[in-house]
Point group: none
Chain length 233, copies 2
């Protein structure tokens, strides 16, 4: 709940020992400390105007309107827009919501699961439902992404820089005898196409250029040394 | 995973006692029994062509492209349509994925969470990600996607091939004295990040590999010749 910005929890007839333990744990989140505790589900949802029961496709014959979780957001947005209060209810892990629980619900929300393994862990079912609502019904609150690094690392390379790089890579190809002479023109063309496909950023282009210049310098130096060496034979 | 129809799990360097216990539990699901166990993350994702690291907004300055989970489906659909294999990776609960883990990723998927409580339970993070993909990337609409190019030119490179390429480029860096010894580790990391950013196709990866192998061979040959030449002086 805290991950997705929800804060109002109500717990119905909890097993007292576990509930006390959970609330008194070190670092128990505020929403647990402030949770409402009621004896019946009817009391817990008394102030809600739209009550959504949750489940997976284990309900064979649902008695109320069924909405798939991925289609739920518009309904919730509409209700909130008209000043309503929406309650989402989850049953105990073992058997889910009872038929009586569901009789308090306006809608049964179905989490679409694989037919071979429809039954979900409670904590995961809650996470999936709240994620869906946070992202698609409430949007803005958790929406801001960190700004991209302002160091120009994502700036695209100028065409001229790609050409410069292509020239140096070609020199390295020649120095390494990579292309048979008859293939040089075709390889030259393919190299240009490939650089555009890869679309390196300005910074990556400089780095690759630096590496190829270094390689060229090295090949040249050892090549000179070889000539020199051969000359002394 | 079973709830949302995913079946191929790989576990990297698990804590043996816990792993054995999980697999030998009565009713352990098939996907756990058939899970692949590897020593390194690189081995686990070797066959993948698009690797997605997951996290919440605890990463202050991400080094790779960040895509919010609600925007992820089109990317995954596109990759599958061109015959690729997508790997979704999750770090240990305590600290999430390391910087080195992330250097194998093409994209960092951010689960949008509340700024006051960004850190998620691992099982819930997995559930939320798989729910999103099951519903929005694997629906029936996947049939309407464009046919992949028949010549394989747009096929993504497998992670193992990118690692192979990284290894050969590193050898060339060393042979050309590109990196001062103190910078080697940092350059090694940057090279991995860059290859994932460039995301070369399978074919381009083979070509670049071919060029670097040729360059290496050449540097080695002239280097040997130099040694020989020097010896005759």
């Amino acid at each position: 709940m805290a991950n997705f910005g929800f804060s109002q929890l109500a717990v119905v007839a909890p097993f007292e020992a576990h509930w006390r333990e959970a609330r008194s744990a070190v670092g128990a989140p505020e929403l647990l400390l402030e949770a409402k505790e009621t004896g019946t589900l009817a009391q817990a949802v008394a102030g809600c105007t739209l009550i959504l029961g949750t489940g997976t496709r284990t309900y064979r014959r649902p008695e109320q309107r069924v909405v798939r979780l991925p289609d739920l957001a518009p309904l919730v947005k509409q209700e909130l827009a008209r000043g309503g209060r929406v309650g989402l209810i989850f049953g105990p892990e073992k058997h889910g919501l009872t038929r009586e629980d569901l009789s308090l619900c306006h809608v049964l929300v179905e989490i679409p699961t694989d037919a071979r393994q429809p039954s979900m862990n409670l904590g995961q079912a809650v996470a999936v439902c709240l994620y869906e609502l946070a992202v698609r019904a409430f949007g803005t609150k958790i929406d801001e992404l960190p700004e991209p690094a302002a160091d120009g690392s994502s700036q695209s390379a100028r065409s001229a820089d790609l050409e410069l790089l292509a020239g140096v890579v070609e020199e390295a190809m020649v120095a390494a005898d990579y292309s048979p002479r008859a293939m040089r023109e075709a390889n030259r063309h393919d190299l240009r196409l490939m650089l555009r496909r890869l679309a390196p950023s300005a910074r990556d282009t400089r780095r690759i250029l630096g590496l190829f210049r270094r390689i060229l310098w090295r090949m040249k130096r050892v090549s000179d040394a070889k000539t020199q060496g051969t000359a002394t034979k």
